[in-house]
Subunit: 229 residues, 2 copies
């Protein structure tokens, strides 16, 4: 085995689902910190604004990851994140417990399916997704039992699975609060100045949507200042 081959055999690769938000950026730096060569998947799925896509690309580049921008169409819509006719919630105090209007049907099921394809094509061993069951308990596709079920899909439905190899799904943030995520991200030097959480695509965050409120609460509880406000 040549030195180059030995080196290649040691590299372990991971697909990271990257949205441009704080959670997925932290997840990317967590994967890097665990020694993975990172390949980011960024989706253009008809979001209300392009800002988070632009920021995701900047984060991928800053982290020296490879990335693919994949455009997907869900022409049936049905979510406030896609459909400008559905008003976004704002100034809510309690955002847990119910399924929000920002729920996009099967979004994480779709994102993971592309990650599985990408992982199998480049022989990656892992998929990282920055979902969180604490602050977003309303989203069914953020719950641990969903990821256990999807893990079984990868085991039974992929060529690598049939060959006995496993592509593992990692959800490093799933049981963390926003404050814990931010503390972890800071330790890993995640460039939070490049992240974007606001549901609107303005020059500055609106400060009133669910996502802005949750982010602010997280920085407050972590005792840190949000670099973008």
């Amino acid at each position: 085995m040549s030195r180059v081959t030995r080196h290649r055999a040691r590299i372990k690769s991971a697909i990271v689902l990257l949205s441009g938000g704080l959670d997925s950026a932290t997840t990317l730096y967590d994967a890097k910190n665990k020694g993975y060569q990172t390949y980011c998947l960024i989706f253009d799925y008809g979001q209300r604004h392009r800002k988070e896509i632009k920021q995701a690309i900047k984060i991928a580049e800053r982290s020296k990851s490879s990335y693919h921008l994949v455009k997907i169409a869900m022409p049936w819509q049905g979510s406030a994140l896609l459909d400008k006719n559905i008003p976004l919630p704002k100034n809510r105090v309690d955002i847990s417990g119910e399924i929000p209007v920002t729920y996009v049907p099967a979004r994480n099921i779709i994102f993971l399916s592309f990650a599985a394809s990408y992982a199998e094509a480049i022989n990656a061993k892992a998929i990282f997704i920055g979902v969180n069951a604490v602050d977003y308990s309303g989203y069914p596709d953020c719950r641990p039992e969903f990821y256990e079920a999807y893990q079984k899909v990868l085991k039974t439905g992929l060529k690598v699975g049939a060959e006995g190899k496993i592509i593992r799904i990692y959800t490093p943030l799933i049981r963390k609060t926003k404050a814990q995520i931010i503390k972890l991200g800071r330790k890993l030097k995640t460039p939070y100045n490049l992240t974007w959480s606001c549901y609107k695509g303005g020059k500055k965050p609106c400060g009133r949507c669910d996502s802005c409120l949750l982010r602010q609460k997280g920085f407050d509880e972590a005792g840190m200042r949000d670099p973008i406000t």
Copy 2:
């Protein structure tokens, strides 16, 4: 409840994954025969040729189904069905047992994820997919255990699942031979003259690729004549 509302409440809807081939066309007519209002999903995923997409649209229209054509990109490729640099197998005698070069990484995982989103958005109760474990035992995503695992993903990862409702995946052909499929399709008046199976997109089927050979064998064993040859 008005008469119109009562009528609507009785209608049950299904998403049907439609490729333009013989199996998915039979599956569509099976869903119709079972009383479903059918919504077809046709994918443009970078196939070698456009012919099967054109035929899928014709079949959807003939069956009076609604349909969406969804364009998806898998820029990482890795399959002879997407990559013109990988030669297609031809004149093979035994096509079962191994995973063929025409395997597209995670294709059915991706297709089902869009079907799940579409089903949830329009409140459909079922997803029909015309996979087959008998003739294509080489494809891992044609095996029953994969569909059992995916069923669990829909149960845990969708809003409707969290609400206790289930979108059920049906694989009516999974244990049928090609001859049995063709006999069923004929009974249901499936327009086989509109279907296309050949991996190549010529004017007439090549008659030599795996898919042509399997189709021919099926018609022979069913004792019927293929209307397109």
